[in-house]
């Protein structure tokens, strides 16, 4: 698959601080890519460089083979939505949406109508931004960004200024909109749930580099680094020992792990929902004491302490269908080999 947008070797420094240390990224046509990472990881800087709002110190940005690295924003053909939307406060909804349209009056009118209908904004086109709800403002910003039918849509934390319920709702709308229009989209977010649910591809960033690029499933289930595993979702990292013969030992018990390649001390990666309580026979099992149960709505999160190694604490999610356990109970726990990963034992 050839890249629609190709970013190569992008470096950006602010004084002595390296914001981006040689970024390579490829986005296919029609793809929805999320740049995910903690604040300060450089994801917004990368987006702004792609937008031409910030100049890179080295590297190139290409769209369909055309080098746009040094073009001004106006010649790069994209639409952008900022976190705070940056709507023109003194222009009403229709004027905001039509701001970039330079066609004749009738054509412009028609395009605005079309966008109002598309974004479900009909009826409020005479209102001013300050009279709109957060969700409406966001949709206006989106409509304005799409008005010129750009080849690329850039979203800078577009949902983070909204409250939780509206955010989930707009997330779904954004996904549907992307499916309907098929526009290549790059979104910056620090919200992993948002990234996992929206993106075709997630690029996880940390300290100015890309840690992993993959589908949401790959990112979640097969994280490429301890950082990704830690940043996306919850996980347990109990210390394990990799024997000479390649077998992995957790608290003296052999645990089969697929594709184990490390030696000596390591960390076992297991998600709270992957650890099984009372596992089917044939699975390697360890006895643990239930210390605490936390009710989280759809799941209960149990805190377990291994009997053979009292300093190892595991968090395990119990669904509604899982066997009932109570604090103080002794339970067998199992580790399904296909869900386990090993990481080098380094301080996080």
């Amino acid at each position: 698959m050839s890249g629609f947008l190709e970013v190569q070797g992008i470096v950006k420094r602010f004084g002595s601080f390296t914001a981006l240390a040689g970024i390579d990224l490829r986005v296919a046509k029609g793809e929805f890519l999320c740049l995910l990472g903690p604040s300060g990881c450089g994801k917004t800087t990368l987006l702004r460089i792609i937008a031409g709002l910030e100049a890179q110190d080295a590297g190139t940005v290409q769209v369909e083979g055309r080098d746009i690295s040094h073009l001004p924003p106006a010649r790069r053909d994209y639409g952008i939505v900022f976190q705070n939307y940056a709507l023109f406060p003194n222009l009403n909804v229709a004027e905001n949406i039509g701001y970039g349209l330079r066609s004749g009056r009738a054509a412009r009118r028609a395009r605005i109508e079309e966008l109002l209908a598309l974004m479900d904004l009909s009826g409020i086109e005479r209102k001013y931004p300050s009279q709109l709800s957060g969700g409406q403002q966001q949709r206006v910003a989106l409509a304005r960004a799409l008005a010129n039918c750009p080849g690329l849509l850039l979203l800078d934390e577009p949902l983070s200024a909204l409250d939780a319920r509206v955010r989930v709702h707009l997330r779904q709308e954004l996904k549907q909109l992307h499916q309907k229009l098929g526009i290549t989209t790059i979104m910056v977010t620090h919200d992993q749930e948002e990234a996992l649910s929206l993106a075709d591809t997630v690029a996880v960033m940390d300290h100015g580099s890309i840690e992993q690029v993959g589908t949401p499933e790959q990112i979640y289930h097969r994280p490429a680094s301890r950082f990704v595993a830690d940043f996306v979702g919850h996980s347990n990292f109990p210390p394990v020992r990799v024997r000479q013969d390649g077998m992995v030992e957790l608290a003296g018990q052999e645990i089969p792990v697929l594709g184990a390649h490390l030696a000596g001390n390591a960390r076992l990666f297991c998600r709270p929902e992957d650890i099984q309580i009372d596992p089917p026979s044939g699975t390697a099992r360890l006895m643990a004491l239930v210390e605490n149960l936390e009710f989280l709505g759809p799941v209960r999160r149990a805190t377990l302490r291994l009997e053979q190694a009292r300093d190892i604490v595991l968090r395990v999610d119990l669904g509604a269908k899982d066997p009932g356990v109570a604090a103080g109970q002794r339970v067998p726990v199992g580790f399904p080999s296909e869900r386990m990963l090993l990481f080098a034992d380094e301080a996080v």
């Binding site: 937008a51 690295s69 040094h70 924003p73 003194n90 970039g100 300050s130």
Partner: protein, 563 residues
């Protein structure tokens, strides 16, 4: 096509913005930095233009007349500061943190000196306490001509400046801090000392510096009621206009620049890292009623107001009286300037012109400078140059700026010599003189607009002037009206800068006041001063009205911004 790394090709409109920004920086260099540089050069020259190093300055220090003038300037400024700042603090406290009745009326009265030329309080003082003064007996033989008159006049003239600074300092006081202190059991006194005082410490210092500098550099008041008391500002004026000794005038000008530059530097230094105090989430403090506090404050504010009103009112009333204090009949005779020198109605018309041009040109130039530096991709050094040059006029007394203009543009070799003696140079110098205040107001307004608005507009492939016209200008309009009002009023009331630059054809009303008073036509001077006050008041009311109308029209979108 590739340029150097880290740089982007600009669109045509952005390149135009770059050229305009460079042009703007060039204008500021030409009309601000150059004249000031000339002062430096001149101060190091002898009468024949030869280089004599620091001899002018050394002579200054050995001439007893100048030394005593410097000492007078200093102690009168200290005295005035010591009187004005506490009074202004009480007044500001009453306006910001009390439930005193008639607050808006008090505020208008307190700011009214801004509408008057600085000579006006001095003229009123002469009418009240002068040789034929109505209240001369109150002084028990102490003459009003001299230190007493200067201090009283300067107090009137500087009061609103101190008040505005302190009022701002007090209004940013966060209500939640007061509430937290109250919940923690602090009494009124402790709350005042631990919450109010720390928040205004900066405002207090800066008010002191402003008042001190204004007094040291003002010569309007001393020239009318100074009597035998010589001050530095008058000395510069006399050296240049009286004795044509430009070099010594420049040296005195340099000395006058000193307190202004020092206090400006001190203010900048104090202001560093203070951004956090002006948090947008602060909750405005509103005081609980207290009869004792409010009554006390009301009395004090009334006393100050009576003082201020007396110094405006006396001159106005006197201008309508046939021959104060012998013939107290009402008369319009003093408004017929035909029989007195000074320029009469021509001066008044010129002042109106100067006010209008200064407001129009000043708004355009100041907005352009701030906009180009802040909102367009102007080259960083150019933007920084504009920003720092724009702050300079604040530190330059009008008198010194005026001297610089004389030295710079009165030199026959200067290609811009033609400007000398025209209305244009008066407009330019006045715009430059009041540039900083306007620039800061526009800047504040521009910075309230989300920076990403420009980014979005660029991504929508619109040139910056479209965004400027459709978005930025409408949002900045109220601030621009404010700046226009400020420039007009300042242009009609100022004397210090233009005194060196007017010609018989371009004589101004404020200068006429000075000259008439000098010639002994005090009543005509009072009449001219009253005309200036009436004009600035009218323009202020008109522009405020216009602002109110605009605000009402824009209410639909502006409302939540102010909420």
């Amino acid at each position: 096509m590739r340029l150097g790394q880290g740089r982007s090709i600009l669109t045509a409109d952005e390149r135009l913005a770059q050229f305009m920004a460079m042009g703007m920086a060039g204008l500021l260099l030409l009309f601000l930095a150059w004249p000031l540089g000339e002062i430096l050069v001149k101060a190091l020259q002898g009468r024949e233009g030869q280089f004599i190093g620091l001899r002018n300055l050394r002579e200054l220090l050995t001439e007893p007349r100048l030394l005593s003038a410097a000492w007078n300037s200093f102690y009168l400024a200290v005295l005035s500061t010591a009187l004005v700042v506490p009074a202004a603090l009480v007044f500001a406290f009453a306006l910001a943190q009390s439930r005193m009745p008639f607050k808006p009326v008090f505020k208008v009265i307190a700011l009214s000196p801004l509408l008057t030329p600085s000579l006006m309080p001095a003229i009123s003082l002469v009418y009240l306490f002068g040789n034929q003064g109505a209240l001369k007996a109150w002084l028990h033989g102490v003459p009003i001509y001299g230190p007493l008159g200067i201090v009283l006049g300067e107090c009137f003239y500087t009061f609103p400046y101190a008040l505005l600074v302190l009022l701002t300092a007090l209004s940013i006081s966060d209500a939640r801090l007061h509430e937290a202190a109250e919940v923690l059991g602090a009494n009124r006194y402790r709350r005042f000392m631990t919450v109010t005082v720390p928040t205004i410490r900066y405002g207090l210092t800066s008010a002191c510096l402003i008042v001190f500098t204004l007094v040291v550099t003002d010569f309007g008041v001393p020239i009318v009621v100074g009597g035998q008391t010589n001050v530095l500002a008058m000395e510069a004026y006399k050296q240049v206009l009286g004795q044509q000794n430009f070099q010594k005038g420049a040296a005195v000008g340099l000395v006058l620049l000193l307190p202004a530059v020092l206090s400006f530097a001190a203010e900048r230094w104090l202001a560093r890292g203070r951004g956090g105090t002006f948090s947008g989430s602060s909750v405005a403090y509103s005081a609980k009623p207290s009869a004792l506090r409010d009554g006390l404050l009301w009395t004090l504010c009334s006393a100050v107001s009576v003082f201020l009103l007396a110094l405006i009112g006396t001159a106005v009333v006197a201008s309508f009286i046939k021959l104060w204090p012998y013939n107290m009949q009402l008369s319009l005779a003093h408004y017929d300037f035909a029989n007195v020198d000074g320029g009469g109605w021509l001066a008044f018309r010129n002042s109106l012109k100067l006010g209008a041009y200064t407001a129009a040109v000043g708004c355009a130039v100041i907005f352009a400078g701030a906009y180009l530096a802040e909102k367009t991709p102007a080259p960083k050094p150019v933007a920084a140059l504009i920003q720092s040059l724009a702050l300079m006029p604040m530190a330059v007394p009008g008198l010194v700026l005026g001297l610089g203009y004389v030295f710079c543009f009165n030199r026959p070799g200067n290609p811009l010599h033609k400007l000398y003696g025209t209305m244009a140079i008066l407009v330019i110098s006045t715009v430059v003189h009041f540039y900083t205040t306007g620039h800061m107001a526009i800047m504040t307004s521009l910075r309230q607009i989300d920076g990403e608005v420009e980014s979005v507009a660029r991504s929508l492939q619109r040139p910056w002037w479209t965004t400027c016209r459709r978005v930025t200008l409408p949002i900045t309009l109220p601030a621009l009206l404010d700046v226009a009002r400020f420039l007009f009023v300042s242009a009609t009331t100022t004397v210090s800068c233009v005194i060196f630059l007017y010609t018989p054809d371009t004589v101004l009303a404020s200068v006429a006041v000075l000259n008439m008073d000098d010639a002994g036509d005090t009543a005509s001077a009072a009449a001219m001063a009253s005309l200036i006050v009436a004009t600035s008041l009218t323009v202020t009311l008109a522009l405020n009205g216009l602002g109110w109308l605009l605000n009402r029209r824009a209410q639909a979108w502006r409302k939540p911004l102010t909420a």
